[in-house]
């Protein structure tokens, strides 16, 4: 299966992210969480990451970001991009004593870019994320979905070249989620933003990813392939082509589950 995906992207332009034979094993753990994973993300391409709960998606993002050290294998991120990476954690992780706005301005302060233009951009982002009435609220006074949106704004405010997003929209209602998806696509085309997007929604993965990497619970790539749509907008989700890809993945998931239940090596037995 892996090879089928690879052919799709083999001839693509310079690779921005390249992962080879990546293995991650936590100290004291029996099994490796990520086991011999290889893939690459070319320039201008965005990756969606799918996989069952606990399969190692977050761990992979953390490895890409450099928050964890690989046990073996190679992770290579093009230097030009590596300097401008940002990360949306799975939980909002806001600084509790900073207001919504101050949380978004934090990265700008840290990279010494807290100037007027950036601040205007921050306000603009917050408005697009529907938070313009909450600027002076502390995280403890925001709803779960709002907190996640603040975290998203914080990751985008520095105009990064690569964003790693760990289920950023899981706490949002469908409508808001759709708006956010389109915001991301817009940034992608306008600012040449690339992202690696972890989600549990197959439709979302297909909608947002130029490539989709499906991990299984043994930490291997179960499937890696490119998807190509000329234009992406919410109407696409009703297109048969779109839905057939979604269906494929849905089936892959069921298959994986059946396998893991059969072999007993899976992490869950319903």
């Amino acid at each position: 299966m892996e090879s089928s995906g690879q052919t799709n992207t083999q001839s693509a332009p310079a690779r921005v992210i390249e992962v080879q034979h990546l293995v991650k094993r936590f100290a004291g753990a029996e099994h490796a969480i990520i086991d011999d994973l290889s893939f690459a993300v070319p320039a201008d391409s965005c990756l969606s990451l799918l996989g069952p709960s606990g399969c190692g998606k977050t761990t992979l993002l953390r490895l890409l970001m450099g928050l964890e050290e690989p046990s073996s294998g190679v992770i290579h991120v093009a230097p030009a991009q590596a300097k401008h990476m940002s990360y949306v954690f799975q939980e909002p992780r806001l600084v509790p004593w900073r207001t919504c706005l101050e949380n978004v301005l934090l990265p700008l302060e840290l990279i010494h870019q807290n100037n007027q233009a950036s601040q205007a951009y921050a306000l603009d982002l917050l408005q697009q994320l529907g938070l313009d009435e909450r600027l002076q609220h502390f995280p403890g006074e925001l709803s779960g979905g709002m907190q996640m949106r603040v975290a998203l704004a914080r990751a985008l405010v520095t105009e990064p070249k690569i964003v790693l997003l760990d289920e950023p929209f899981a706490a949002l209602d469908e409508r808001t989620r759709f708006r956010m998806q389109d915001l991301l696509l817009e940034l992608k085309s306008r600012l040449q933003l690339q992202y690696v997007f972890v989600t549990h929604s197959i439709a979302e993965a297909v909608y947002l990813g130029d490539q989709i990497l499906l991990m299984d619970s043994t930490g291997r790539a179960r499937d890696w392939r490119g998807v190509d749509f000329s234009e992406r907008n919410q109407a696409l989700k009703l297109a048969p082509a779109f839905n057939s890809i979604v269906q494929t993945y849905s089936q892959l998931f069921s298959e994986m589950e059946r396998n893991s239940t059969a072999s007993g090596s899976g992490e869950s037995r319903p």
Partner: protein, 257 residues
Amino acid sequence: MTKRIKAWLVEKYPAWIFLAVLLLGWEYVVAQEWVASYLLPSPTQIFQTTVELWPEIYAATLSTANSIAWGLGWSAVSGVTLALLFFAIPIVRRAVLPFCIFFQTVPIISIAPLLVIWFGFGQPTVRASAFIVSIFPILANTLTGLQETDPHLKELFRLYRPSPWQLIFKLQIPSAIPYILTGIKISAGLAVIGAIVGEFIAGGGLGSLIDAARTQQRVDLVFSGVVMSSVLALLLVFIIEVVSRVLLRGRPYLRKL
């Protein structure tokens, strides 16, 4: 403002009631001669003495207060700074911290000659004494506070490759605030003792007064001095609380004390 003061008085009423009970009980115990008045004077006696010698006591209190403020101020500044240094450069911490513990246990009186010769007789030594005695709790608490910073937030900051200063001022100090404030409050009491003991040695202030009264068996005067020094400590803790509240106003999530 008067409203606030009123509110404060009301809020503190348990302390006032307890104070009243304590004083009455004390008075009674002494009146009944359960404890001889040459060991423990009655509150009224202490009060009378205080009123009688007010000019001297007042002057002594001011002088002691000055030394305490100086000593505590510097130990707050250098305790926090030192903690930051230790935190930033672990090897320095591992090398020097044991010696801080070491020096903390040196009774002031046994290094009095060194102190007096280095700092000079009188107030400088008193200040140094207040400083030496009060630095460690601030240092230790700040250090723990810095070390207890939420690792998740630390990770967040690290994404942006902050300078050590940024990390310290934007993350670690804010999250160490409850520790630092508690450290300063503990140190406030110690600074008072440090100043008094310093004055035993180097003269001046309430320490000198207590010392003289002690040998003259003027327990009333001893206790008058002790009460004044304790009042200073209370006042200090009160000021610390007010200042910290004002500084943290509008920052309710800088976890409260």
